[in-house]
Amino acid sequence: MASEYEFTAKDIVEKPEILMSGHRACAGCGPATALRLVLKAVRGPTILTHATGCMEVVSTIYPYTAWKIPWIHTAFENVAANASGIEAALKVLRRKGRIKDEHVDVIAFAGDGGTFDIGIQDLSGAVERGHDFMYVLYDNEAYMNTGIQRSGGTPHGAATTTSPAGSVIPGKPEYKKPISDIMVAHGMPYVATASPYYWKDLITKARKGIEVDGPAFLHVIAPCPRGWRYDTSKTIEISRLVVENCIFPLWEAIDGEYQLSEPSEAIALKPETKKPVQEYLRMQGRFRHLFTPKFEKVIDEIQWITDKRWQRLLKKCGIN
């Protein structure tokens, strides 16, 4: 499944913005960058729907909006059902000649809370029904809008306000839910992971997700300086490191066939270039407590789960 479209830096500059400036995201907000990049892949008339969360809250406040194209937010846990309704309406209204006979794309945005946790039921249902829409998960690994609480997407050992680094429990005890694998297991036609540092890869995948017939799922890692506790200038660097240490490898699954994307494939071919997790963890305040003798072993656990999942991924991609 090759997209005809080749993105260049020029396109990025020249394609009109859809998420306009003036919104209230923090400086260095990874999700805002992620959404802007995704929207560079839009190919024509498009309807957006958005789950409650940081990006929904920062992009509107009555009577202002940052959205150039039709956009609707209704609640936190139902964005895939919202997309289902939009897609069904488009089909029938076109059939009845009540709207122009042209294709309209549907994109749903949700955070990790809206996806891994409270919204997984309607996401699963919408994908099972096969609606033609792209679901974009911007994963900042916690409930940021409500003040950095843990989600099913928060990584092991991270301190959040509901998995604080205590003197007994060192941050989140559980491991991150493998949400994208769960989506692949639905038998959906297109699932991919992406990172804002690899912008061309991200936009190309977004475009493929839009172009595919049926549901597509794009999982974008989206660092949040507020919640991850790092300097606002480091978002893009962190977006690179998380791929280089294979905590968040880049891949696509087309009709269930896993395939590594270029940056991760290069690491697979040259395993000695795979970075250890330390540097990445050390940059972020949410892991600060791990760099103490008492909790050091959690860093080993993070390395262990990273390696285990990476090996499993290589196997799925047919690389041994």
Partner: protein, 409 residues
Amino acid sequence: MEIVKQKVLALNGDEAVAYAVKQSDVDVVSAYPITPQTIIVERFSEYVANGEVDTEFICVESEHSALSACLTASAMGARVFTATASAGLALMHEILYVTSGCRAPVVMAVVNRALSAPINIHCDHSDSMVERDCSWIQLYAENSQEVYDSIIQAFRIAENPEISLPVMVGLDGFSLSHTLENVQVLPDDVVRKFVGTRQFPFIKGHEGKMVPFKLDPENPLSMGPLDLYDYYFEHKRQQEEAMQKAPKVIQQVHEEYAQMSGRHYGNGLIERYNLEDAEIAAVCLGSTAGTVKTVVDELRAEGVKAGLLRIRTFRPLPVEEIIKALENVKAVAVMDRSLSFGGYGGAVFHEIRHILYDAHIHPYVVNYIYGLGGRDTPRNLIHKIYQDLQEILQTRRVEKPVKFIGLRE
């Protein structure tokens, strides 16, 4: 206008709903099965499977998603329908408010059923009464004929650009939903003409020009934004203003429909039964009104001046109409098929008693909680209520203003 020639079909209440929806040129139906609503979804699925409707049917994985999908489909400009009951309506609770807040004219049949626990599939009004404050228009039907007629009318009410609010039509579980009745149905083309195509309010869009209120790539709008203390309150008042405009629209639609069908349900808001000279009266909604009317006839035959006020439109509450209807009644028994735990009587009682406080007439107003969980309410129970009212008038005393009736003591 002349009364249209109509077919008579043997339909239960659920089938009457499905048939009305089939005729109303609905674009999107999204629903999830729950007893006693299932027949609606099943019949409609058959219409889709047999190509009898041009409707996208989204067979979702929950009621929360059913209403979420209806809401956005409606925001796209589609005519939309869903149906549920009991736990399903409770699961929709959050999205009920979002739907009315987004001013999406969704029409929903609520097949009234008790709420858990303990789990019970039979009729009472707990499910929809608890949702009376969510800015949905609420109509309650007495029989399956009225169910059919009300669903068709509901699309015209909801989609009126002055209103733009969702409408729920309540029908009693099993006593209506599963009971066969002769239902007169209008020809397809007549219904289609009556419901017409969907209308939209116009609002100021992003670029400052007036645009139809829907999601449309040519006229982009943002719907459901963050809206804090500086505008939220005005938006809520707008919703209430639309509610206050609804009685006129409900009456107009009801009258226009009556002209072609020959069927009236009072004035569309309330129905007065032998109230003109009544000294004692019951107030109720839903199918129980049928039994009460029989009892009123029996009492009238004995010379007792008994009457009934049936509330068809419970939201918005037709305040003036209710005052006028009860103005000369001396003792009123309000029947509630739901319970407001820890409150003073049921939801309908709260309304009626407090309306009459303003009216400078102070009849005795007592409350009967009846029929919870499908408990039968036969004629003798209704007779007991009217006897109580007569006793109150004789003794000029009310022993207990709020009573349970028809249960073990």
